[in-house]
């Protein structure tokens, strides 16, 4: 779900949103006088967040815990960018707090940080971001790195292979503009694994279920990429239902999709992503240049399973997979 929020957030930038963010920042300004005292001795880390709940909260919690454990004792300043708030004034207070590192949690916060005018001086470390390269975050020549949510296609497809040893052809839906590159990159990966990746482009989300119906006749299983042009709140149930009606297994995007009928999904440990972020911040505070710190991928990924779907599809889960997996629906 977070990936979808991020993706759609990038598409909906506007003055209204910035004004809202600014208003939120004004609230943060009230805290400035007492924070200014420690400015000389402690490095400051500005955390920009757009949501305080769910996976973001998990990641931020782990991030703060890890930073506090850092020997440099960075001062953590948290800025809430409220959707539709005064973004400009919020960024002004971020700048005035003179942080050593700006941490942007999520794709929306990252794109707001990158677009701040005048640009922020500090290097940007993003967190909880899907497809940072494909989102264009790395192309601006800015000092930026971070912890992505991308589970590499190789890992995803090999998991699918372990789960469904019989499957040979795997279908995937994508919108060319959003995940065309991801799918294109995944094709050779699949080939190396001995799988045939059949991709179908979707012009607009509403057509996705129809496209999926025809695709399902040609493939043994369905792989998914987090694509806002395919998965919307309206199309997701229809896509899940189409897959179930076709009695074809689907590797979904999230635990939510597994609960709603996907056979399985790879679930990222968000707290660990927070810790990965803290590690990157630590190395930058330690003097490394942001450009030199590589973007990380999730280290801890578990497989979520819906055994009821498995039963409906007649899929027999291999015991070793089952033992590692997290069963969401019995």
């Amino acid at each position: 779900m977070h990936s979808e929020v991020g993706a759609s957030g990038r598409d909906r930038k506007g003055p209204r949103r910035r004004a809202k963010l600014g208003r939120a920042l004004l609230a943060a300004l009230a805290l400035l006088p007492c924070l200014a005292e420690a400015a000389d001795t402690q490095p400051r880390v500005a955390v920009l967040r757009t949501s305080r709940i769910g996976p973001f909260a998990d990641a931020i919690g782990a991030l703060e815990t890890a930073l506090r454990a850092d020997r440099r004792q960075p001062e953590i300043l948290t800025f809430d960018l409220e959707a539709g708030g005064d973004v400009a004034s919020a960024m002004e207070s971020v700048r005035r707090s003179a942080p050593a590192v700006v941490v942007s949690v999520g794709s929306l916060a990252t794109s707001l940080a990158l677009e701040a005018a005048p640009p922020l001086d500090a290097p940007i470390v993003f967190s909880m971001v899907l497809y940072p390269a494909e989102s264009g975050f790395l192309s601006g020549g800015r000092a930026i790195t971070g912890a992505s949510l991308d589970v590499p296609p190789r890992e995803q497809l090999s998991t699918l292979q372990r789960l469904l040893p019989e499957a040979h052809s795997v279908g995937v839906l994508y919108s060319p503009r959003e995940t065309g590159a991801v799918v294109a990159a995944a094709k050779p990966v699949a080939e190396r694994l001995g799988l045939q990746l059949v991709s179908e482009a979707v012009d607009e989300p509403s057509k996705a279920p129809v496209v999926l119906d025809s695709l399902m006749k040609r493939v043994d299983a369905l792989w998914t990429v987090a694509d806002g042009g395919v998965f919307t709140p309206q199309t997701t149930p229809a896509l899940l239902l189409a897959a179930l009606r076709s009695r074809k297994p689907m590797l979904g995007l999230s635990p939510g999709q597994v609960r709603s009928g996907a056979l399985a999904a790879l679930v990222v440990d968000y707290e660990d992503v927070g810790r990965q972020t803290a590690e990157i911040v630590g190395s930058i505070l330690g003097g490394r240049r942001a450009a030199d710190v590589p973007i990380t991928h999730p280290r801890h990924v578990t497989l979520a399973l819906n055994l009821r779907t498995a039963e409906l599809l007649g899929v027999k889960i291999p015991p070793d997979v089952l033992s590692e997996a997290h069963v969401l629906v019995q």
């Binding site: 239902l241 009695r247 709603s260």
Partner: protein
């Protein structure tokens, strides 16, 4: 029948014990009211129960729509076992549209979501499949249990037929039930609105029924009032009050009847008046005629008296010279005796005989005219019969001795004494004996008196062995101036009045006379008169 009797009869009818206003009006109003009330009740029951059924039907239909909608939404949740989503869609409908419970089960009967009350004991999936078609009620009758199947397609199984199915335009054949949505629909609000419906209907029906009954009563009164007036009028007419009239001006049959009644009363009045008038005139005419008759009667009486006086005078004047002639002839015959020539002697006898005949004739004519005038006075006395008969017989003894005819007089001791008019009895017997002597040349004559055919009557019989009367003449011998048969010769004398006198005298004495006769053998005349003529018996009958 008197007016009182009429009223008593009218009030005595079984449906109106003593009260007149429950008459025809009561029956009419009652019958109409019963029809109205029954119709009203039946219509109310029919319409309201149909409306009530419709209310539940709509509620159930709505519940089914809700259940089907939830079922359609639940396909993914049931297939994936997404209990949270199912619980959400269940919770979403709860509390709205009288839905009090919602549950989703899969085909194996596993409960995937359940919320609300009264979900216990919905039964097996087989039963659920049956309940899809039929709405059931829970044991407490507080809920309707509606079941909708959750259907899903299995497209993997129809890969080959897919195109074919698409052509047919039907894919529903491939869908199967993967679960069921169970909805409990509260009957409370439906029951309440049905109750309200019934209450309203009953109130409405009561009002309509009461209005109908009131209308029926008014109508009945309206219809019957003129009839009552007609009844009163006919009673008045029956009691003779012909001046009664009824005031009904309606334009219907009753109005026509009333008009006819009034016309009838008017014509009755008219004819009664005419009748009275005629009666009066008739009475006057009768009175005038009576007076005339009385006057005529008086004149007649006067004339009759004049005639009687004239006859009495004439008879005296006629008889006196005859008696003188007879007396002198007798003296001459006895004085001269055998000394005169037989020739002269025969002449003397002729004088004497014709003079006597003349006397008899006059006597008879006078007697008859006295009787015919109708004024017969009775002189009732008590007397012995025997001397009367002997006295009459003595008159003819010499004549009969000359002819050699015997005369016998015999009186039964039972009728020795009579109580009647002695002179008239003697006159009767004398006339009869005159005839017997006249027509009997030889043989015998007898006079016998005895008890008649009834004990109160005396039968006096005069029998002779004379010429007799021809059978064809027997009926007419009692008529005036009637002389019958060959014996009616001038030589025997008489004018034919003797038996007519006998007949009238017998009637005057309250008796009868009859004759029995055979030609050449003899005649028997029998007179029967009362032994005792009571003075109270009218003295005479008018002639």
């Amino acid at each position: 029948m008197s007016a009182g009797a009429v009223r008593r009869e009218r009030n005595g009818r079984w449906w109106s014990p003593g009260r007149r206003r429950f008459g025809f009006a009561g029956i009419l109003a009652g019958a109409t009211s019963i029809v109205i009330v029954v119709t009203c009740a039946a219509l109310t029951w029919m319409l309201t129960s149909r409306a009530s059924d419709e209310v539940s039907r709509l509620a159930i239909q709505h519940g089914r729509t809700v259940a089907e909608r939830v079922a359609a939404e639940s396909e993914l949740g049931v297939l994936a076992g997404d209990v949270d989503a199912l619980a959400q869609s269940c919770a979403a409908i709860l509390g709205r549209d009288d839905v009090v419970s919602c549950a989703v089960v899969d085909v194996r009967g596993r409960i995937l979501a359940a919320s609300g009350e009264g979900l216990a004991a919905w039964g097996t999936t087989d039963r659920l499949e049956r309940m899809v078609a039929v709405v059931t009620t829970d044991p407490q009758r507080r809920l309707w249990q509606i079941v909708a199947p959750v259907r899903s397609e299995n497209r993997s199984e129809m890969r080959e037929e897919l195109q074919f199915d698409a052509l047919r335009g039907s894919r529903s054949g491939g869908s199967t039930a993967v679960g069921y949505v169970l909805i409990g629909l509260s009957r409370t609000s439906v029951d309440a609105s049905q109750r309200r419906l019934w209450e309203l209907a009953v109130k409405l029906a009561t009002v309509i029924g009461l209005l109908g009954v009131a209308g029926a009563v008014l109508l009945a009164r309206h219809v019957v009032r003129p009839m009552q007036r007609l009844v009163e009028m006919s009673h008045a007419i029956a009691e003779g009050r012909l001046d009664a009239s009824v005031d009904v001006s309606s334009d219907d049959e009753i109005g026509t009847l009333a008009a006819a009644f009034n016309q009838m009363a008017a014509s009755l009045r008219d004819s009664r008046a005419r009748l009275f008038d005629q009666n009066r005139r008739l009475e006057a005419a009768v009175r005038a005629r009576t007076r005339q008759l009385e006057e005529m009667n008086e004149e007649l009486r006067n004339a009759s008296e004049l005639k009687s006086e004239f006859l009495a005078t004439v008879s005296h004047e006629l008889r006196t010279p005859l008696n003188v002639i007879i007396g002198y002839a007798e003296i001459l015959r006895e004085t001269l005796g055998e000394r005169v020539d037989p020739e002269y002697r025969a002449m003397l006898e002729s004088i004497e005989r014709y003079s006597r005949l003349q006397l008899d004739l006059i006597t008879n004519v006078l007697d008859f005219s006295r009787l015919a005038s109708g004024r017969i006075g009775l002189d009732v006395t008590s007397f012995l019969l025997e001397p009367v008969l002997a006295e009459v017989a003595a008159l003819h003894r010499d004549t009969l001795a000359r002819r050699g005819v015997t005369l016998q007089v015999q009186v039964d001791p039972a009728v020795e004494r009579l109580h009647t008019d002695r002179v008239k009895v003697q006159e009767i017997v004398r006339n009869l004996l005159d005839n017997a002597v006249k027509f009997t040349e030889h043989g015998s004559i007898g006079i016998f008196a005895r008890i008649g055919q009834k004990p109160a009557l005396v039968a006096i019989e005069v029998r002779d062995s004379g010429a007799g009367i021809a059978p064809e003449d027997l009926q007419s011998v009692f008529e005036e101036f009637r002389q019958v048969g060959q014996s009616s010769t001038r030589s025997t004398g008489g004018v034919g009045l003797g038996l007519a006198i006998v007949h009238r005298l017998c009637e005057a004495l309250g008796g009868t006379v009859r004759v029995d006769s055979r030609r050449g053998v003899g005649s028997t005349f029998v007179v029967e008169i009362p032994i005792d003529l009571a003075p109270s018996i009218p003295a005479a009958r008018s002639a």
